[in-house]
Symmetry: C2
Subunit: 302 residues, 2 copies
């Protein structure tokens, strides 16, 4: 599993342990507490030797590495291509050499479609990203299909909506739920971009981990799936729900200017993955929000 | 005009001269006979200083540079990204700095769609290329839309089918009409890949040049157009037509194995560009083929 130290990676490690899978974790920095630490490599995707060793004998590669954000990717797209796309293309060549059967790739349901042509957005909808981040995810999707076509390397693409849940850092620019909870719980004002009507589809990280497990098992002509709750929530709604969960009706909210890389609405249609793999989201929103608050209270001693 | 020394670039130079446009030609190697040689730069897209100087004061940039082929691009996709995509992203940044109004980009109607979901293929059809060449053209299309969205740099994408006509080298791997004519006219056997039923949409290079001129003038919400004849011809049909044009009924044909990067059929729907810009192909196929044969006889003393 590549990107095992990240938010999704740690949740997937937990999910795979429940499946009794043998996992080789690979990441820039890996926390000590990962379940599968018999096989672990601390390195980046630029390190071909480390990658080759880690891929040896693996049947399935989970590719969860993503080093930047939609907003920052737009400042220097060429740099972003060098950092994100090229290492993945070289990874695909190494997967061929190592006779990996399948790559499961964490794509981005919130950015590959751009401003959606249809809401909820299904997998066949137009893909016109408004960030280099989204273009590069889409490009990797196309290269996965190319490698399947040319070399028989199988793949599944998961276009993941906005994941949230225990384990998500509140200090990164991605992860608005974690950021809001932490600010509210530490007595700071919550930041809201634009009017607050920007709408996102939040999916609990345990449900995302379950989707990866379902994708690894899946075998069929459908290879690209949305992973989402299918329900949209505006930033303003989340502020209200955070107040509810924390029992703090009077929270200070600071309005900030809108960001160019933000699409106004992102809600994904999940009928394909439900129908094809049987996967469905299991964590209800308010339960997930409460569990995230409980985790954050403990993790950050709030 | 970037890529002014190539097959399309030379034809477009002729087309722009008829429009009395002031053109700065830019290319790796420029032939002496180009119409607009008051302003000319011999350099590659990697040369940022040369590009900056050439872009100065230009309103419209024609980007026709393409240094490799669908088949070879698949041998090393990462290298192809470095060679094709990154210089274009840096070009777009330079266009912003130079306050260029619009970029007209030569994309590839024969590769961006991949194995077509619908024939004739319209611009909204699925784009799943089976070559790195096609993926990278598609990626540049997406980046053009991103730069328009973020920075207001306008663009038109021309998804050009298979161009043929006077000026096309018979010795490159692209350009089957030129290759067949030259082999037939010099007494060599004609090469046909696979069964010969691979079908392409051939468009005369003068019609392509006219489409670039129409694209430069066009101003409207539609920005991506197929440029094609709309008629499919199989390799076997072209062999027959070459026999007819040359008056040589008995031509030797050698069958070669099919190529992985070849889609079985490529015929493009051109109703959008006809309706939107008034452009339409003017050179009839057999006339164009005869003119190409005449040119080749003179150019190669056959």
């Amino acid at each position: 599993m590549l990107g095992a130290g990240g938010f999704l990676g740690q949740a997937l490690s937990g999910g795979l342990r429940q499946q009794n899978a043998t996992v080789h974790t690979f990441g820039r920095t890996l926390p000590a507490g990962l379940p599968h630490d018999a096989l672990r490599t601390e390195a980046t995707l630029h390190d071909a030797d480390a990658l080759t060793a880690a891929l040896h004998g693996q049947e399935i590669v989970f590719h969860l590495v993503s080093s930047s954000l939609p907003e920052t990717s737009n400042r220097n797209p060429a740099e972003h291509v060098l950092e994100e796309v090229l290492p993945t293309l070289r990874l695909l060549d190494l997967c061929r050499t190592a006779r990996v059967r399948k790559v499961v790739f964490a794509s981005s349901g919130g950015t590959v479609y751009g401003i959606p042509s249809v809401v909820p957005t299904h997998e066949q909808a137009a893909t016109v990203p408004i960030s280099a981040y989204g273009i590069n995810k889409l490009m990797i999707e196309r290269y996965l299909e190319l490698y399947r076509h040319l070399h028989g390397l199988d793949y599944t693409v998961l276009r993941i909506a906005n994941p949230y849940g225990p384990g998500q850092s509140p200090f990164k620019k991605q992860g608005v739920v974690a950021a809001m909870l932490h600010r509210a719980m530490s007595g700071s004002a919550i930041e809201v971009w634009g009017t607050g009507e920007v709408t996102r589809d939040f999916i609990h990280v345990d449900d995302v981990a379950a989707a990866f497990v379902a994708a690894a098992r899946h075998d069929g002509p459908q290879r690209t799936f949305n992973v989402a709750s299918g329900t949209g929530r505006s930033l303003n709604q989340i502020v209200d729900d955070v107040k509810l969960v924390l029992g703090t009706p009077a929270l200070e909210v600071v309005r900030k200017s809108a960001r160019a890389a933000d699409v106004p609405v992102s809600i994904l249609d999940t009928s394909l993955i439900r129908r094809t793999t049987g996967w469905q989201p299991r964590v209800a929103w308010m339960d997930g929000l409460a569990a995230t608050a409980t985790w954050m209270r403990a993790a950050y001693r709030l």
